[in-house]
Amino acid sequence: MKRFLLSLLLSVSSLLWAGQAAACGYYPQGEDIRFSMLKPDYAMFPGFSSFFYSTRHFYYREEVEGDVSGKDSMAAGDWQNTALWRLRCLNEPEAEDVYAAVYGETDLSKKNSTNSFIRYLHEHSDTTAIQYLQFARTCSAYNEVVSDPWERHEYANLPSRHRLIQVAAQRIKKLEDKELIRRYAFLIIRLAYYNNEADILTSTYDTYFNNTEEGKNILDYWSLSFRALIEPAGALRNYYTAQAFRHVPDKRLMLQRQYDKSIPVNETLAHASDKEEKAAVWLLEAISNPARALDALVQLRALDTDEEALSFLLLREVTKLEDWIYTPYYTYFEPSLQEEGWYSLQNNDSTFAVLQKRIKRDRAYAREVLTFARQVTIKNKAYNNCWQVCKSYLCLMTEDYTGCMAALQLLNKPNTLDASSAESLRLIKAVCLIARQPKGKTVIPDEIKPLLIEQFDKKNEDFLFAIAKELEYKGNSTEAIFVLSRVNEGSGRWDDEYVYWKTRKMANISQIDYCYDYFDYMDIQYSPAQIQQLITTLQGTSQTDAFTAWKTKRLKQDLSLLYDLLGTKYIRKNDLVNALSAFKKVSDTLWKSEAYTSNLDANPFYANMYNEHAATEGDTITYTKKTLVQTLLSYLKKAEDPSNPDRDYYYFLVANCYLNMTQHGNSWMMRRYYLNSRGDHEHPDDRDEFYSAGLAQSYYLKAKAASKSNAFAALCLRMAGRCEKHRLIFRFNCQNRYAFYDPDSIFESNIYYAQLKEDYPDDYDELISNCMSFQEYFNERKRAGVRL
């Protein structure tokens, strides 16, 4: 009787039946839905940690485990600067000491410092360097824009910061040390940037950095990055940005954000003077492209031999394709980060066709990427492993299973592989081993069984889901459910690993059109025969090996639920005999559980003209699903017995029961596991019956036909009219997604109310207008001389 969630606002819910929409509330998107089976070793690309493919704007570096350099990747420029300082000291001090002195708070004035760098400076009387370092520390407090407290500008121009610029400029005049001059000049540029003094920045850059011919170092590129930031939008700014981006890893995110993708790349390339500069432009062009970037990769490959950048870009392209192909292929969600921009598709059959068309096109693009990848030779071992993983995965994406297995031969040479690459290849191989089997004969090969358990422990839900879906697509729905029953078991609802997926059967009929649990999925998708097959297999399983124990663990616990689901499926088909057979196998423990006792706590054989879910005076008895079907079958038998003088009475009770098993009655749980105002988890199998109460209507009419009492016959017609009202409203809502029905129009279209008026004019007003008249008319049967 009760509803699980919201039970009000039925008219609103009806508006939403006609199609899915993420109107309000939570709806999975972005990383919630992105298919991401592989977990690449991103640590090998420390300079690109902000640009791993993700629906989030960027991955924060903390999310990247490990760091091959052993030093903070976001401080790569600082370490280059450290190297410059060491060079000044003929590489005598330890790099860590230099770093600590330049970026830490080590006392610079101590001649006998424990810091080898500071000691070296004092020993060599390099007082100008010490003065510079002290000054740079003072300046570092000013390295941020601050909002203007006077609210005149967005950011404040601080007099104190301007004074520092003046001090630096005065020191430059007195210095002859070219390196320190450039360092002071850089400080001026940085201070000027944060102080909104573009003229000073530009003139300082032009004087000290613009004409550096050879041996550019991090000071040039740091200065260039600030120069790029103040350049007005255009090809020149893109050029500056690209050059700085190439050489300043720690400022890449900021630089990429100001790269203007709308400017044709040729215009930017026109400013580049050599191959290296052009490669820098193509690199940033590729990084800034969330869509297909193969052209940029090809250009970059032709101009540059930087294997880190190219390897990263290839991996990024493969990760994009993983999303574009497998997110829709396995989950029926659109790719998390769409190639063609953000918009929402209707979830219907035409959408499915569109998704399939796109998947086909993206598989073709995967072939192009694969062709490119096969042409490239990578020398670095770690990057080469990355390329092998990419090539194997691309083969799988293109459904070239033979090529994929050939590429996976690398697994036979374990010494050449790092752990991450080896694991990725094993995942790819597992999917390939399922996908390449002929439909109808697919099984889970022994080879991948331990991997499934291992990945379950690692919460790689996407991998488990991929295996389950491949099994399903190959026709093995039983094994698919075995695996699917373990998906999401180890992950929290809001974890990125958690899998959400849609089904085609849910298309276009439900607001919440996705699943995250095997039971809901079976409830929607599986036929009674498939469920029966699953139960049979489950009960016939006698093996005690680890994999069997793993795959059957949850389903064995849920056996009663599965029988209940089977029976419920038969109810939806109005196959009461088979339904009863299934319900008889459900343990009493389940019927006594809270979910069942609280939702089947009313008399399903009682109904009146108005009541739906509230308690009534008829609720003197309750039933389980099993006893309800048993009783219904016995009433049907009595109703259809021509010799029974009370047929009308039993037909009426049967009709009441069917009415109560719909959305509009107190025993909706006979057909649904959830019910709320949003029409969640709608079922195509009996959707019409659930909202239109057609069976109830037919039995009310049979009751009328069998009745010997005019008043009772009129009541039966009134109840049939109530069912007709539900049918008319449901039809209106299906046809009019964004409109409210007109109650008067619905009433006037009701043929049973019209018939009531014509055939029983004396009873019409009483039955239509007096909500208290039900009992009076029901009792008329007895006055007409019948027994019950």
Binding site: V146, P149, W150, E151, R152, A156, L158, P159, S160
Partner: protein, 376 residues
């Protein structure tokens, strides 16, 4: 009596007979100052809170009942920061504009419109003395410019639909003889750049010692008749208003050379002393603390039970100096002002400050009498 401004100028242009001019000056100045019918006090309040978005209902009701024609709102303070330089601080969040939408805001809006129908808002800026100590003329030029910009901006953004531009800026500052020149320079720049009437608050010390402290280059001053002595210096004296101290300051031979308005206190506070040391203040309301205080001598109380009060935790035995200004004391002060200050026929009397908890300590009649007493 009418003031005679234009005839005085014409007179000067036609005659050069010195004794006669002197006589005329005396007559004219006398005609401005003398007031057989008393002084008409234009009603005004200070609004000194920084964090309130709007007036409370109680404050709106006071405004409606007392009908002040001016509200002096502290828009912000200016402090000196080693990193930023001279910057605004404690910016006012007060808004007075018409709301649309929810019923409560509509209700407030109608209250506001009724209350502010005949009232002007006058921006006040408190300049900390340290700002003046550390600023060259160049920095003060910039400061004046910034202050006017921010005043304009606040008035434009927070006082929408006041239907009239502001006419006056008031500067509040505890300036000293060491910062006098910078302060006067700043005032001059504000006047020059804003083209508004400029007034400033005037403590009693510079009021009395005009020769030593100079006269600020403003259009008028508001004499602050409160905070006469350092709060912690005199245990037995009320530091907010002590009529004996006030008398001493008001007695002087020469009238102040600028139009002088009056500011009177309607506020209170409690000074908390723990282990003999001043540790903070408690401000109204005092409803929860009064039951645990026992008076031990005039102005002084002892805490009888531990109690949390605002952000302070008071322990049994702590001492409290409770200072407020009873209506009778204010009236004594008004009588002293009428006796010793050459008040013009029409002045502004401003009560410090508009706060529901402070104002509810006085009856409406008492508050109203603070204005009307100047005429009697």
């Amino acid at each position: 009596m009418k003031t005679i401004r234009l005839p005085f100028c014409l007179f000067l242009s036609r005659f050069s007979f010195t004794p006669f001019i002197i006589l005329c000056i005396l007559l004219v100045s006398g005609s401005c100052k003398k007031k057989p019918g008393g002084t008409e006090a234009e009603r005004a309040f200070y609004y000194w809170k920084s964090n309130e978005y709007s007036l409370t209902d109680a404050e709106l009701n006071q405004v409606k009942k007392l009908q002040p024609t001016k509200l002096y709102v502290k828009f912000f303070e200016v402090k000196s920061d080693s990193f930023y330089g001279n910057i605004p601080d404690s910016k006012s969040q007060l808004h007075m504009h018409r709301f649309q939408g929810f019923s409560y805001e509509q209700y407030q809006d109608s209250m506001l419109r009724a209350a502010f129908n005949n009232m002007s808002v006058i921006p006040v800026v408190f300049v900390r003395n340290e700002v003046l100590r550390n600023s060259s003329h160049g920095l003060l030029d910039t400061l004046a410019d910034n202050m006017i910009f921010l005043i304009d901006k606040f008035y434009r953004e927070k006082y929408v639909n006041m239907n009239k531009p502001y006419q006056e800026i008031q500067i509040d500052c505890d300036w000293t003889i060491r910062t006098r020149d910078q302060y006067f320079y700043l005032l001059t720049q504000i006047k020059k750049r804003s083209n508004k009437t400029i007034s400033c608050t005037l403590r009693l010390y510079p009021y009395k010692y005009t020769d030593k402290m100079g006269v600020p280059p403003v259009d008028k001053v508001t004499l602050m008749c409160y905070n006469l002595i350092a709060p912690l210096d005199h245990e037995d004296k009320n530091s907010i208003l002590h009529t004996g101290e006030l008398t001493a300051y008001l007695k002087k031979t020469k009238p102040y050379p600028l139009h002088t308005d009056i500011a009177l206190p309607v506020f209170s506070w409690m000074q908390v002393y723990q282990h003999g040391q001043f540790t903070g203040t408690v401000k109204a309301p005092y409803d929860n603390i009064m039951p645990v205080l026992k008076q031990i001598k005039p102005l002084w109380y002892e805490v009888t039970e531990d109690i949390e009060c605002g952000d302070m935790y008071l322990r049994q035995g702590d001492r409290i100096k409770m200072e407020d200004v009873p209506g009778e004391t204010t009236h004594k002060a008004i009588e002293l002002l009428k006796k010793h200050v050459q008040l013009e026929e029409k002045i502004t009397v401003t009560l410090f400050h508009l706060d529901e908890h402070e104002l509810k300590r006085y009856s409406h009649e008492t508050l109203s009498s603070f204005f009307t007493a100047f005429r009697q």
